[in-house]
Each structure stands twice: as structure tokens, then as C-alpha cells.
């Protein structure tokens, strides 16, 4: 039986490096030929996260659920701001955000935490952040169970448009991958990135329409400052993503001129915005891959 060797058998290494296109093509080949390695790394990650806790991988379901409960309590009881079926309204946005946040959090340290491995064996380092992001997908997929439960508990929202979720998730995956590649590589050289990331993520979360929505932004104060603020906030990729999820899952609540709420269930998300974001994310992935490949040769020396 002839076995295919997944790593290049022979090599010639020198100080010369291939050009930008060559590097990106190399990265794509590496990820493809080492897909089984990525699969093992994801499986290892999943196993580890589940093995230390009593409830194991059930935490993937409990965690976003508890977070949702916290916000529901905070907003509907303390701030007295609510929406119809508030838990679903929040969960539709918190679930994808948690996927993003935990993927980036894991990816930032994905290279530095494998210091021993990197010094011990020659393998394409790009599989490490890719595996972190891929492990996040598993996490997100489990969350869909809870989402389905909430949709069944709160009738009137579920529509055929939930089928847009995988499409929106694909765009989010690209965007997450770009940031994961970038932060994991830079963190090798500047460990500050890891510390900074947590705070940036927190601020980003509050600036994204997860706990609020553009429809009710600033309670209808319609002045220039508010409009400018909204325009800036709309530039946030997660404004597009979370808005799209919520439109597809929860639907829309529009406050009419007379102050009454009209509610429509799940709808088609803003496909133009999603398409543009997909293209930008793709370009970002290419740029981040290039940067990663440029920095990769130095990893073993710096770590």
C-alpha cells in the first residue's frame, strides 16, 4: 500500500524566502495537506475543555444560556428596557459573539502555548490558529441546540429564514480567521497583544448591537450627533453580522411614528452588506496569512 506523506519529504532551507503570492499559496497547501492534523488538534481541544469540569462539554450549552440570563435580569429588571421575547433577542446575538470572542481568545495564545511543540518538530504553524477557529465552530454548532429550544419556546419567530444562519456564520468564520491569524502571530513578538485583546473584545461587544439594536438606538433622539454615531457604529463588522443573525432568527421590531411596535418574524438579512463584508474578510484573510507566513520562520527562535 502506498501512503501519502503529508509533509514535504525533502527540503532545502536557506535564507531565501518566496514572494507574497508564493507564501499564501504555500499556506493554503499546508492547511489542506494537514487537515488531519487540524482535526486532531480540534478533537484534543474539545476533549480538554470538557474533561476538567463536572458537566463537561455541557458547558458549551450552559455558558451562553447563563450569560443570556444575566443580561435579561440586568436589562429587564434593573434598567427596565426590554423587547418582546427579550431572551431570544439577546441570545440570537450573544451566541455568535461568544463564538467570536472565545475563538479569538484561544487563537491569540495558540502559537505561544505550543512553544515546546514548535521547538521540537517541524510542521506548518498556521495549523494552530486555524485549529483554534475550527474548534470554535464546534462550540457554535452546539449552541444552535439552545437556539432551537428558545425558538420553540417563543413562538412567532421561527421562519424559513433561519437557514441564513450558516451563510452569515461563513462570513463570520472568514472574519474571525483573519483576526486569529493576525493576533496569534503578533502575540509571539509582543505578549501585550494577549492582555490587550481581552479588553478590546469587551469594548467591541458593547459597541456591537448585541445588547441593543439600531432600531431603538438612543430612543428616537433624531439629531445630527446621533445620526453620526449610528453611521460610525454601522461600520463595525459585527454591526452587520449581529444584525443579520437577529433579522434571520428573531425578526424585526419597528417603532412606528405613533410609538407603537410592529413586529415581523424572521426575514432575509441585508445580503449586500454581508457580501461586502465577505469580500473584505477574504482580503483580510489573505493579508493576515501573508503576515503569518512572513513571521513564521522567526517563531522557533523567539519562543
Amino acid at each position: 500500500m502506498q501512503f501519502v506523506h503529508e509533509a514535504p519529504v525533502s527540503f532545502r532551507s536557506s535564507a531565501l524566502r518566496p514572494g507574497p503570492l508564493g507564501l499564501v499559496a504555500q499556506a493554503v497547501r499546508e492547511v489542506w495537506s494537514r487537515r488531519r492534523l487540524i482535526q486532531y488538534l480540534v478533537r484534543a481541544d474539545v476533549k480538554k475543555k470538557g474533561s476538567d469540569t463536572l458537566l463537561g462539554n455541557l458547558w458549551w450549552v450552559i455558558d451562553p444560556l447563563l450569560q443570556m440570563v444575566v443580561y435579561v435580569v440586568l436589562f429587564s429588571i434593573i434598567f427596565r428596557r426590554s423587547q418582546p421575547d427579550f431572551p431570544l433577542f439577546l441570545f440570537a446575538a450573544i451566541l455568535p459573539w461568544k463564538w467570536f470572542g472565545s475563538s479569538i481568545g484561544d487563537a491569540v495564545t495558540s502559537v505561544v502555548s505550543q512553544e515546546r511543540l514548535i521547538k521540537q518538530i517541524q510542521f506548518p504553524k498556521i495549523v494552530l490558529p486555524v485549529a483554534s477557529v475550527a474548534a470554535g465552530v464546534v462550540n457554535f454548532a452546539f449552541g444552535q441546540i439552545v437556539l432551537l429550544g428558545l425558538l420553540l419556546l417563543m413562538p412567532g419567530h421561527l421562519s424559513i429564514h433561519v437557514l441564513w444562519i450558516p451563510v452569515i456564520a461563513a462570513v463570520q468564520f472568514l472574519f474571525t480567521l483573519a483576526l486569529a491569524l493576525l493576533t496569534s502571530a503578533v502575540n509571539v513578538f509582543y505578549r501585550d497583544v494577549g492582555n490587550l485583546t481581552r479588553h478590546v473584545l469587551l469594548l467591541w461587544f458593547y459597541l456591537s448591537p448585541a445588547l441593543w439594536s439600531f432600531e431603538r438606538f438612543a430612543d428616537g433622539q433624531n439629531n445630527d450627533v446621533t445620526r453620526l454615531g449610528v453611521a460610525i457604529l454601522r461600520l463595525n463588522p459585527f454591526a452587520i453580522l449581529l444584525d443579520a443573525y437577529r433579522t434571520a432568527i428573531y425578526g424585526r421590531v419597528v417603532t412606528g411614528a405613533d410609538g407603537s411596535d410592529t413586529f415581523t418574524p424572521g426575514q432575509v438579512p441585508d445580503l449586500l452588506a454581508l457580501g461586502i463584508l465577505a469580500l473584505i474578510s477574504l482580503a483580510l484573510v489573505a493579508g493576515a496569512t501573508l503576515l503569518f507566513k512572513r513571521l513564521e520562520p522567526a517563531f522557533a527562535k523567539v519562543l
Partner: protein, 289 residues
């Protein structure tokens, strides 16, 4: 960058094994230089980096290896010896493709298997069995091959029932044995060993000696870094003495070992003299004053 001379086995003549057999020198290192930047070392932060920017001057880089050239033939076992910090481990990392040369060329033909750290072990939280599969995937070996060899690896490492426990519960000896078993079980054309053969108990050392002998006699190439001079004289067909990032001498293992021992002895004497000189300068104890 390992500009991957990807070798798809299209015709029998172009198979990996044939390519390995054709080359005269599976390892060919020419004028290798490895430079470490001092600007980025372990755990740099923005602050330290800015501080260095503001304070120009001072050493920015150092050469861990410079002008190193050597070749390894089929069936040769090359021993690399030298004092601590001579660049032995860096040399092995460069041959393994882990570190990229700053200058010069490293050309390697054949499957490499490297065991460069004392307690190999890839993931502390995974079981020994999972680690075997993970190691195989990292080395790029087909999972079917690994599944087939799993049994013999566990047998050779003598881990027994523990194999399904997480690696963090393994003793140092067990980890070293497992690492050696994996590195040598994958049928490497080229085997790189760094200070691993001196670990483990008597029985395992004997077993691993036999295993290395088998690889060498099967016309494969071995590069061995160790402080155990017995291994060098017993095993290696040739040796190089590395000092301060350069090759000082190359030749017959016994000669090189003698040379290394003499030079170490001389360095030790020089250090003693230096220590004595410093001690003499120290002020006398107050009680004696």
C-alpha cells in the same frame, strides 16, 4: 523557507525511498549561519521593545552558528559534541527544518524524525495513545501507518496499562521512552537525537542502543547530540566538535572525544585560575584585619 520539493510518488523511480537512496549525502549543510535577534527574545512587551528603540547601540544580534559546513553519508552516525552553549541544539534544529538559516543552505533528502527535547510529549492533557496519533499527524505521517504501529510503539516504550492515562501523569522516564519509541518507530531515513539516549533505565538504554544500531546499519543517517562520550565512541562513525557556533574539529570519534575532553579540562583549569585570582582580590575577613 523549505521550498517544498514536494515529491509525489508517480513512478517507482521517483518514490521517496528511491530519492533517498540516490543521494550521496542525505544531509548537506553548507556555510550555515543562524543569527538570533536580541530585539525579540522570550516574552517581549511593547515597553521593553520601545526601551530598546530609544537606547540605540548595544548588541542587536548574535550568531549562534556561523560558517558551519558538514555532510552526512548513508549509514553514517554523526556525533556532535561540545561545551554548553556551543550551538549543538541549534544545529539539530536547523537540520530538522525547525529553524531557518540566516545564511547558507541546509539540504536534507529523506524523511526526518527528530527527538530534540528530553521529555517529548506533545500534549500533557491527552492520553499517551492520543499523543502517539498526534505526533504522527505533526510529523505528517499517514494515520493508517500510525494506527498500525501503535502497538509496537507502546510495547517498545514499555508503558503498558498507563497508555490511556493523560501524559501529565507519566514519569520523566516514561515520557522519554515514549518519545524515543515514536521517533524511531516511524521508519525515518534520518534520525536526529538530542540528549535523549542517556535517559531511562538500563534495560531501555540497551534497547534504544540496539534500535539506533538498526537504523544506522539499514543505511540511514543519524545525527546525535549527547554529553555521554561513551555513546559517541561506541556508536558514531564520525564526530564533530562544536565550540562557540563553529566547527573546531571533525573526524574519528575517539580522536574528537579525546580532544574535547582535553579542551574541557583546559577550560576548567583556566576557570579555576580565574576564580583564584578573583578570590585573591577579595578583601580579607574583618576578623583577620
Amino acid at each position: 523557507m523549505p521550498t517544498a520539493v514536494a515529491a509525489p510518488a508517480l513512478t517507482p523511480d521517483d518514490s521517496d525511498a528511491a530519492r533517498f537512496a540516490r543521494t550521496t549525502f542525505p544531509i548537506d549543510v553548507r556555510e550555515l549561519g543562524v543569527q538570533y535577534s536580541l530585539r525579540f527574545t522570550r516574552k517581549t512587551t511593547f515597553r521593553t521593545s520601545f526601551a530598546r528603540l530609544l537606547r540605540p547601540g548595544g548588541q542587536r544580534a548574535f550568531w549562534a552558528l556561523r560558517n558551519v559546513s558538514f555532510r552526512v553519508r548513508h549509514g553514517e552516525a554523526l556525533g556532535v559534541i561540545g561545551p554548553n552553549g556551543a550551538g549543538k541544539s541549534t544545529l539539530l534544529q536547523a537540520v530538522a527544518g525547525i529553524i531557518q538559516p540566516s545564511e547558507g543552505v541546509v539540504e536534507v533528502t529523506g524523511h526526518i524524525s527528530a527527538m530534540l527535547h528530553l521529555q517529548a510529549g506533545f500534549d500533557q492533557d491527552l492520553s499517551g495513545r492520543d499523543n502517539i496519533m498526534l505526533a504522527g499527524a505533526l510529523m505528517g505521517i499517514d494515520h493508517r501507518v500510525m494506527e498500525e504501529r501503535e502497538g509496537s510503539i507502546i510495547d517498545f516504550a514499555d508503558i503498558g496499562m498507563h497508555i490511556d492515562q493523560p501524559l501529565k501523569t507519566f514519569s520523566m522516564g516514561m515520557r522519554a521512552r515514549l518519545g524515543f519509541a515514536i521517533a524511531t518507530a516511524v521508519d525515518p531515513d534520518i534520525l536526529l537525537l538530542d540528549e535523549v539516549v542517556s535517559t531511562g533505565d538500563e534495560v531501555f538504554r540497551a534497547k534504544s542502543k540496539v534500535r539506533v544500531h538498526q537504523i544506522v546499519s539499514a543505511a540511514k543517517a543519524v545525527v546525535l547530540v549527547t554529553h555521554d562520550m561513551n555513546w559517541i565512541t561506541e556508536f558514531c562513525t564520525r564526530a564533530i566538535l562544536l565550540e562557540r557556533g563553529g566547527i573546531v574539529a571533525e573526524g574519528d570519534p575517539a580522536t574528537i572525544v579525546t580532544m574535547h575532553v582535553e579542551r574541557s579540562e583546559q577550560r576548567r583549569r583556566e576557570k579555576e585560575a580565574e576564580t583564584a585570582r578573583i578570590m585573591a582580590m577579595a578583601p580579607p575577613k574583618p576578623s583577620e584585619a
